[in-house]
Symmetry: D2
């Protein structure tokens, strides 16, 4: 009898962007089995999609209430154990809350919620549960990101003195410059999207990445956002100054109007002793810079990498793995946590990371609205 | 009830390199379900591995005979439909032959067999069957390789005039320079490995890639191989001159002693009108060169790519996919063929490609042995 | 008889960094002849250096007064026509002023002066002279920088919406972390170096580059500088937010503590229609990005480049030229101006650019000191 | 009085490609002074060009006879000391011979002569002279090429086991595919160009580079050239197998029909212990590869480089120098030799390198004509 972890998925239907990433990732290490869920708002569509991906329709539910009721009625060993929430942002909070209250483990897409307030309530619910809770900041699963984290932890850089992270895309250009389109895109509608477009969608990845790899916490930020048009209500670009302590500074640069950029997410961290650089679009290279030394280019799968990094590579060096493999590594960590096996805290981001992300988004908008002043991130 | 295609696997056990690539690839598009197989020579190991990857042990067999007998006894709709052969090279031929004779579809690792003779017999068996037969030249599944193929077919390069393909690795260095190690590695033992080490293992990828993307057939070759030590019986490096016709030439450069190289497989094709270049370690870039024009860098997922290429990309541009995704695309094509859906002949390499590969290997060794002379590839 | 322009040099002695750059640059197009100058404070050293570089010592002077007196006594056609000022920053102002007052043309290293006040006085002197005045922002001479300028002027990017310029070095690390060294380096001594180290030395290149290529003027800035130690009096790192108008923003990132970076100066400019990127360390590549189009990589010497760009390339494409060639192009433009030949205003930066640079430096420090607030750049 | 070395130039007129490279290079280190020469066949043109480059016309001669007669009549300390031969290939031999016979030092462009026979005669003349004789294989002056040479000499790679050098251009495409153009281009006319086009022009750079950096001599070659059209008499592409000894092999790949390539000259050398790679179009990077180690990227100007390499860099790391600087380094070495100062034999290629180059060209054509067989390079 199969020992795979039973996974249900909310959202991620055939019309979605992110569904396939989670399905492939969950299957990658033979640990999870997608048994059902609510793929779409419409039940019939959900069922059709279930058929398309070759799973039975008997555990496809009308909605989350239906799922919880039916699954709870099953004997424990047949029951869904973990649920992935891939629905639009505003549904993360209610869905996650209900799942926690019913003792399911949760894998939730970022951003965790739509407000910091919600995030804090969710934290309480989480604390009162026994559930594992992962937030899928996808990029933390890359082997060379993990290697960066471990090298910094080991002190390879010495005291960190400067952090510069860029997340540039250009996709919103054709929308933003068209008056009608920018009025009618849900992404640019605060009612549907929350208070931020660019910072909320990608700035938050940058923020999480910084805290993930550096092991430091951002204390204060000063944000300058750009809305580009007076009638546009959502930021689509922003530069955010960071302070870790008086003499440790950084910057997040994030844009959806960096014309022609695809998903150009780069991380540069400089310490007293050395610097490390990484680029998401070429994720299998990690650059180690030292004054007066030849630059070193680290790659996945080599014995010189840390255990955490090596755990995230499946083939020998030179066989490029990508974003599906990165997400797969996150799922692998969640599986270990669910199975109560040993795992490294760096294997998946937690609700704590999700909460900080929400605080960051709100504080960035606040700083900007008040005239680009310094504001404090909660501890 | 699940409509996934039932897949069994031979080889690919927990100790293998290639097993995980096929498992992930087969699951990637929700088309296949691994139901069992013979993962290892040892039944118990096979069963343990089945448990580890979370599938039942009831369809884990002692050997291929056992598999065929048991599966044939099942009602057709429950029976394994396709078998992936991931065993060491010398087992490809007998296993594939037996599977074809019993009407299973076959996905076979390269090289197809250990001799050209075997390959031709297998072809006959195949012709008398109704089976689909795929040979997993993994790299043909990359979206930008497929794009290269389509652009060449459309005439973007004009008449091809020069082809230069490199496949450089360095892994054999620590073995080849140690007298004892080189005497005792099976890879360097012709009895176990066939007549060629380097050409057989990676030169054959280069050869297939050339014919795949160019749509042309190599007519003659002249090979200069290197054995490095008098007591070494297998080539571990070679340069092979190619002739497509009198004025269309090329070269395959292949090595396992290119110290420090990992899996540095590159393809350069130059035509009257333009050139195209691609590198396996950075597979999401395709370089288009034209005299007097800025070089253009094509990337996956953009609408300017061909249908065949776009079919191989799962996320928007800028989300790097890798070798698992490449193999996944090959499995996707095989699924279409098995389901008798429409598919493009470029979706997976066939037994024909496997046979040509075997002929190429033998001819390369023959050319070298006879003093680096021109020899002819069979039609 | 030689028709070369007679050039004298102040500073640039054998112990200097920048002397060789100007000497090679001035000779590159056979337009200038170094006839003498004041290479060092010490006359004998100057004379020795003159011998070393193979020019006579008869026009080597004790100081600028001596030079002016002696040269003015010569018949006009023998007299030095132009003087390059390569001395430490605090000498630029008095030397330039005296030269202008005596009707010499001036080529002055950046930063123009040590204060904005001085710069404005110098401007008056300049306006009352008939001299050509160039400020050697070296990097504007690169063919692909010039090409960027021309493409932007032609509207290839459409309306510019975002500018991001980085100038990262790491060289000050070994000094800044050593209490004694940082106390005793003249670079970190405001009395000797002016009010800014990092912004003054390299931030000013970034600022000039932005205005040079974009053709726009920075209106407001908000600077966050880093001094790293309480006892350090000079910025060695800074992020500076830029505003061109309400919805056109940018950022300059500049550092001397970006450990392991050498001279990593990059320019990214994004417009409504396209983006352009350039990197100083690989100066012969210009990247053109357009939504949904393959990236294009422009290189020097191709007919598709503008006249201004092509004028800066001496050999066919593929023969890499570098920083000496870039400075050579600036000298070439100055020669044309001196000879009253036609030239493009983009051929060399002028006193106007030098003055804006000084204003920028002071305003950056002011913004930082006042708590990172927006300040205005003078028109 | 000037102590610069008096240099005359033959060829290199205003219509030439290579003239400016030598003029800039000779001036770069303040060692040479161009005093005259024969820039063009036509005296008036020569004189006009002399005026254009700002030197007197009194030492511009009608031809080499005139130059020699007039210069020999001058007192020794005023006389031209060294002559650079930049004329078309067929003039190298007679000019060099006459210069040697008259005791001038010679700097000669490659290829040394048009036949191996001429080269050997020239060698005799040289041996009977006291002259310095340099052959300008330009690329050997790059700091990272010199670094490669020194690292190999020091044993960083261990025993070399494989060499792969590529020199790809695409410029001849528009000519070769046009029947009329290919009939009328002097480059493709053996009477004007010698027996080889591609191997003679660029293959010879590849050959010299290999021997320069490896310190080894090529023993045997097997060439497969391409003429592309039956009516074309000159090779425009070729792959040449190399043997250094029984188990040390290599390949030169050279083309003028690699469509869209500019000057793509790359060097890869693999030894038992490590590999080194370098690319002419990005000359400031040297890649050191070791099994199981991060790749190291060496750059010019760092203290970790050899003395020979550092001598070829004028500015600190990160300030890219290029091909003019590379040629400048060669001239610097020649100046030292002329001045009888100490110098490293790697500072400039000699007549010996030029002679080997001629032998290589002839042997490559011979190997091809005889059906791609192994031929021996003379010792
Ligand atoms: N980690 C990353 O890098 C990354 C990348 C992209 C998207 N995301 C996140 O993933 C989430 C989904 O994004 P997407 O781009 O796939 O969105 P999408 O709009 O493409 O897809 C959303 C899916 O949810 C379904 N859905 C909507 N309401 C539902 C409901 N009530 N119950 C069940 N299903 C419902 C829709 O039918 C659709 O299939 C977002 O929160 C987004 O921020 C994360
Ligand atoms: N497409 C590619 O790029 C690529 C890459 C690597 C390997 N390969 C090919 O894949 C094949 C396997 O290579 P590998 O590196 O995984 O080899 P491996 O030696 O690592 O693994 C072979 C597996 O086969 C099992 N096996 C051996 N005999 C068996 C038998 N009789 N029945 C069932 N299982 C048996 C072994 O127990 C082991 O699990 C080879 O043919 C190789 O050429 C292809
Ligand atoms: N454009 C660029 O990218 C760039 C790069 C480096 C330096 N610079 C500028 O060039 C200038 C010089 O920098 P450097 O690094 O060569 O400095 P340096 O300290 O290395 O050299 C200064 C030279 O000036 C001479 N000198 C000092 N006082 C003198 C005097 N009174 N009269 C004549 N000579 C005198 C010194 O002897 C020395 O030779 C600075 O203003 C610097 O900002 C510009
Ligand atoms: N080292 C390199 O990488 C490199 C690159 C390009 C050219 N070259 C070599 O440089 C040489 C010249 O090449 P080029 O491309 O400049 O050629 P070119 O045809 O552009 O120029 C030749 C010059 O020689 C002059 N000339 C011809 N006959 C003369 C004579 N009898 N006396 C004096 N001058 C005469 C011509 O007027 C012209 O100025 C060739 O041998 C070529 O192989 C070397």
């Amino acid at each position: 009898m199969s020992k795979k972890i039973k996974l249900a998925i909310l959202g991620g239907g055939g019309d979605s962007l992110i569904g396939i990433l989670h399905r492939v990732a969950s299957g990658m290490f033979d640990q999870f089995e997608v048994v059902g869920g609510v793929f779409n708002v419409d039940l019939e569509e959900s069922q059709n999609f279930a058929r398309k991906i070759g799973i039975g329709t008997n555990r496809i539910y009308k909605d989350l209430d239906g799922l919880i009721a039916a699954e709870n009625a099953l004997p424990e060993e047949e029951r869904v154990q973990v649920v992935s929430i891939l629905t639009p942002n505003f549904l993360h909070y209610p869905m996650a809350k209900q799942l926690l209250e019913n003792d399911f483990h949760v894998i939730c897409e970022k951003p965790l919620t739509t407000t910091y307030e919600e995030a804090k309530i969710l934290e309480e619910t989480y604390k009162n549960s026994n559930s594992i809770f992962a937030v899928t900041y996808t990029y933390t699963g890359y082997p060379m990101v993990r290697q960066m984290k471990e090298m910094i932890a080991e002190g390879v850089l010495g005291k960190i003195q400067k952090i510069d992270v860029q997340y540039y895309q250009g996709w919103i250009n054709p929308i933003i410059h068209d008056e009608e389109k920018r009025a009618n895109t849900w992404r640019l509608n605060p009612e549907k999207s929350g208070i931020s477009c660019c910072v909320g969608d990608i700035g938050t990845h940058a923020f999480d990445m910084i805290e993930y790899v550096s092991g430091m916490e951002v204390k204060n930020i000063l944000a300058d956002l750009n809305y580009l048009y007076r009638d546009n209500r959502m930021d689509i670009d922003g530069t955010i100054l960071l302070r870790f302590d008086e003499y440790v500074k950084g910057v997040i640069r994030t844009s959806q109007i960096a014309t022609g950029e695809e998903n150009n997410f780069t991380v540069s961290i400089y310490g007293e002793k050395a610097g490390l650089k990484w680029e998401q679009e070429n994720p299998n290279y990690l650059y180690l810079l030292e004054e007066g030394e030849p630059m070193r280019v680290l790659k996945p799968g080599h014995a010189y990498n840390s255990k955490l990094s090596l755990d995230g590579t499946k083939l020998p060096p030179g066989h490029p793995e990508g974003i599906f493999d990165s997400m797969g590594n996150i799922y692998k960590g969640v599986a270990r946590a669910i199975r109560k096996e040993d795992y490294h805290p760096g294997e998946f981001p937690t609700i704590h990371d999700g909460i900080r992300g929400m605080n960051f988004i709100e504080k960035a908008v606040e700083s900007h609205r008040q005239g680009n002043i310094w504001v404090e991130i909660d501890e």
